[in-house]
């Protein structure tokens, strides 16, 4: 006998991106229902198309398993006297509605109690589903929900039918004005409409009506069909990340068409042509020997015919015509002349226009560039100067699919005008990395302009009162700072951030604003901490390092890495940390003056002083070479002398002068540790 359950929620078209998570949420609702009600089954599978979310449960039990609830009663000693039930036992049994002789005695926590076993009412699977399906459907999760009828149910799109069956029988359910049945609908465009189904013939029946409910099957067939079309023209389809998934969830059954466009559009930059195909139309582009071909492939929901192909070609041609028009008109104004036009575009209300922003970017880039080796300063300046000019072009200002190509468009116009490849690279790459997955700029110069762009965005936004709070970060400052940190650590740039910040504030004529400086500093330290932890650095080490090294991001990263390395040897690490902690504890935050060498009396203090003096230049040498692991290891040499001092010399001597000199000695020792990080923050597990 067919003991399978079929539940299909028939809807109007649900957005492609919602489908898989919603089907999973639906599945989970049912799994939870079955497990909490003790209904066994062998398998549960999900299916979906834009017009349906479906779950099929195989070999489900007819009813719940027997469930016995045990209720603890009075202690056995009080319930029975001489083997006979007392009043207490009778009262307990009758209050639970069971015969006196069905009471049992069980040991609970070492004592014997009377226990009533109450069998839960067993319900049929059908009944349980009938009662619970409405709330399971209501609780399916979607990013956005809507209302459409008078019961005010919230769902992604209107529910228009429900198939709910156990075997061949309908499970009667009613929701949002829809009553369940055994009837579903086929493909909107090419089927006869209503189809009677059962759990066992569901997939087959739907396929006959041009609905492929299995998303994996639909996607792989779509992919095969696309590749087959591309082979017809000896090309290879280009699958952008996510595009195949999206298209396969925009249709119920995969059909594909191959269309073409005029070769003249191939003179446009590749990304422009691909954007025209992908962004709105969700077409697949086709390449041959990695060159674009004047063809596109589209997944559609109906059997292909000439009319459909022609219609799609027309739409794409119109988009490409737009792009070509922009390309031609934009090129009439040379890119260098566009600089002045930037003054017509405001950035922030109180922060001036994009020309002013560009001028700051030039200054900031120059400032950073001078602190980095092997920089082509003229490429850097030219790149910074032209970095934003494409924001004046029609291609970008149109606000359509090409707007996301900012940077790329500027570099393409630059190339067409014969600007050097290096400058074009700066223009194109100074937006990178756009997110955590994105690649880094491809040259040092581009990386520096990217840093300038990011810090100017951060400083400007803080000045405009647009700092990130909680989950709100409308200008993407956190992302900007993460990219900043990534660039610095990958390119190994080393420069003091506080000076860059001051320079930037000064360029905004806000050099005096120390409050904003401090706010930004805190923001940066927080992001640095997050970045270190994402690289596997412990929280306490990140904190210790940042308190000394936040200002040079590369150093904070390298010191943190060195500390993590040293920490691998737990014993040695403890020695190092505890030695410094002894020193800090006795100082209690005091900052005494300099050591007076002639007042060093005991041999232990002289020894510590000499050791410290001896390693100080070595430490500085390591620091200069950024060899922090070696540097920190060098500190270990102080440990024995520190211990000797504490074990044999009374630091807090009655003689005020001796005491202060000893504290000064310890403070000096502490300062050597602090060349790397604030060891007081380190936690020894």
């Amino acid at each position: 006998m067919d003991r399978n359950v079929l539940i299909e929620i028939g809807t109007e078209e649900i957005p492609a991106g919602y489908l898989e998570p919603a089907a999973r949420s639906f599945e989970k609702g049912l799994r939870d229902l079955f497990s909490s009600n003790k209904i066994p089954y062998s398998k549960i599978s999900i299916f979906y198309t834009p017009r349906r979310l479906t779950v099929i449960v195989e070999n489900i039990a007819e009813k719940q398993e027997r469930v016995v609830n045990k209720i603890k009663g009075p202690p056995a000693a009080l319930a029975y006297k001489d083997g006979k039930p007392t009043k207490m036992a009778r009262g307990f049994a009758s209050s639970k509605g069971i015969p006196l002789d069905s009471l049992i005695i069980e040991k609970i926590d070492g004592n014997e109690y009377v226990v009533a076993e109450i069998e839960q009412e067993i319900k049929s699977t059908k009944e349980i589903l009938k009662e619970n399906l409405p709330s399971i459907i209501k609780n399916i999760e979607f990013p956005k929900k809507m209302r459409w009828e008078k019961t005010n149910l919230f769902f992604a799109r209107p529910i228009r039918w429900i198939v709910a069956m156990l075997g061949k029988k309908v499970i009667p359910v009613s929701l949002a004005g829809v009553k369940s049945s055994n009837t579903t609908l086929g493909n909107r465009l090419i089927s006869e409409g209503k189809i009677k189904v059962s759990p066992s013939n569901y997939k087959k029946k739907l396929k006959e009506s041009y609905v492929m409910a299995n998303p994996g099957e639909r996607k792989s067939l779509l992919k095969n069909l696309i590749e087959k079309e591309a082979r017809k023209i000896k090309g290879v389809p280009y699958f952008s990340p996510g595009l195949l998934d999206e298209v396969s969830n925009l249709i119920e059954y995969p059909f594909v068409i191959l269309g073409s466009f005029d070769k003249k559009f191939l003179t446009l930059p590749d990304k422009v042509v691909i954007s025209a195909m992908e962004t709105h139309q969700r077409y697949f582009s086709v390449k041959k020997n990695s060159k674009l071909m004047p063809y596109f492939i589209s997944g559609i929901n109906n059997k292909p015919n000439k009319e459909i192909i022609k219609g799609n070609e027309k739409v794409l041609t119109a988009r490409l015509e737009d792009a070509k028009f922009y390309w031609e008109v934009d090129r009439k104004i040379p890119i260098k002349e566009r600089l002045a036009k930037l003054s017509g575009i405001k950035w922030h209300t109180n922060l001036g226009n994009l020309l002013q922003r560009t001028e700051r970017l030039i200054e900031l880039s120059k400032w950073i560039g001078e602190k980095v080796d092997n920089i082509n300063l003229s490429v850097l300046k030219e790149g910074a100067k032209l970095s934003k000019v494409d924001l004046t072009t029609l291609m970008i200002r149109d606000g359509k699919e090409f707007t996301s190509l900012e940077g790329y468009i500027g570099s393409q116009y630059g190339r067409a005008e014969g600007l050097s490849e290096e400058v074009c690279k700066v223009i194109e790459d100074h937006y990178k990395p756009r997110n955590v997955e994105d690649e880094l700029p491809r040259s040092k110069e581009a990386a520096i302009v990217s840093l300038a762009d990011r810090i100017d965005l951060i400083v400007g936004s803080f000045l405009a009162g647009e700092k990130p709070t909680g989950s709100r970060d409308p200008f993407g400052l956190r992302q900007a700072m993460s990219g900043f940190i990534r660039i610095i650590t990958e390119f190994k740039f080393s420069f003091p951030l506080d000076e860059l910040l001051k320079k930037n504030l000064q360029l905004f004529s806000k050099a005096e604003n120390t409050e904003i400086f401090e706010e930004i500093r805190q923001f940066i330290i927080e992001r640095e901490g997050g970045s270190l932890q994402s690289k596997g650095i412990r929280y306490d080490i990140a904190k210790a390092v940042l308190s000394e090294k936040w200002n040079v991001i590369l150093d904070s990263y390298l010191v943190a890495k060195a500390m993590m390395k040293i920490r691998e040897d737990q014993v040695e690490f403890e020695k190092l940390v505890i030695g410094q902690k002894r020193v800090s504890n006795i100082l209690e935050g005091k900052t005494p003056g300099k050591v007076n060498k002639s007042r060093l009396k005991e041999k232990e203090e002289k020894d510590l002083f000499n050791k410290a003096k001896e390693i100080e230049p070595i430490l500085n040498e390591f620091i200069k070479k950024k060899e922090y692991l070696e540097g920190i290891n060098e500190l270990k040499k102080l440990r024995q002398s520190i211990d000797n001092l504490f074990d044999n010399v009374m630091v807090m001597d009655k003689d005020e002068k001796l005491k202060n000199n000893r504290l000064a000695l310890l403070y000096y020792v502490r300062s050597l540790f602090h060349l790397f990080c604030d060891f007081e923050e380190i936690i020894i597990d």
Partner: protein, 210 residues
Amino acid sequence: MQQFQQYQVILKPAPYDVQEQYLESLKYLSLDISEHDIRFVEDDWESPTLGAWGLGWEVWMDGQEITQFTYFQQVGGINLDLISAELTYGLERIAILLSRVNSVFDLPWSPKKTWADLNKEQEYQFCVYNFDEANINSLSKYFEECKEEAKRLINMNLLYPGYDFVIKASHTFNLLDARGALSVEQRNNYILEIRKLANMAAKKWIEMYS
């Protein structure tokens, strides 16, 4: 385009077979849906200035958007009791499909004249105005005037003329926006201000008529 025609149908409350009714309506335009690829592609309509939004789709026919389909959820910042379905047919786009031409400019208006003959010059002039010549200062001032006038009229229960000025403020904002005159922050402020006015008008309507 500066000037285009939309045929708007509002069905309230939304009938359960509204999608089928819509598809049926295409047949009356002599479009045989079994011969085309029709898709309901996610597109949630929103007018941030008017505090109005809904969920729905743009309807594609062979890759071309021909209709905006929206289940209205909120108007003037107020949740709707009764959900309506709004169908907005893009008439030029449908005409392009029906007359099998390549662009709106080629649409035959009469046996001898095309859409371009009638409208191209006007489109061109408005383009120049919208993108280059619209006077930012005077539009900014006019925006303020519309705002004040809307408030004044709505407050004295002259709701309909008041609401007209809300729409005028919204239109003026669109012009400023197209002109590229607004920074991100300014843009948000303008939107918020108009939304406040729209909400004020919606509340007044409830106060006066419900």
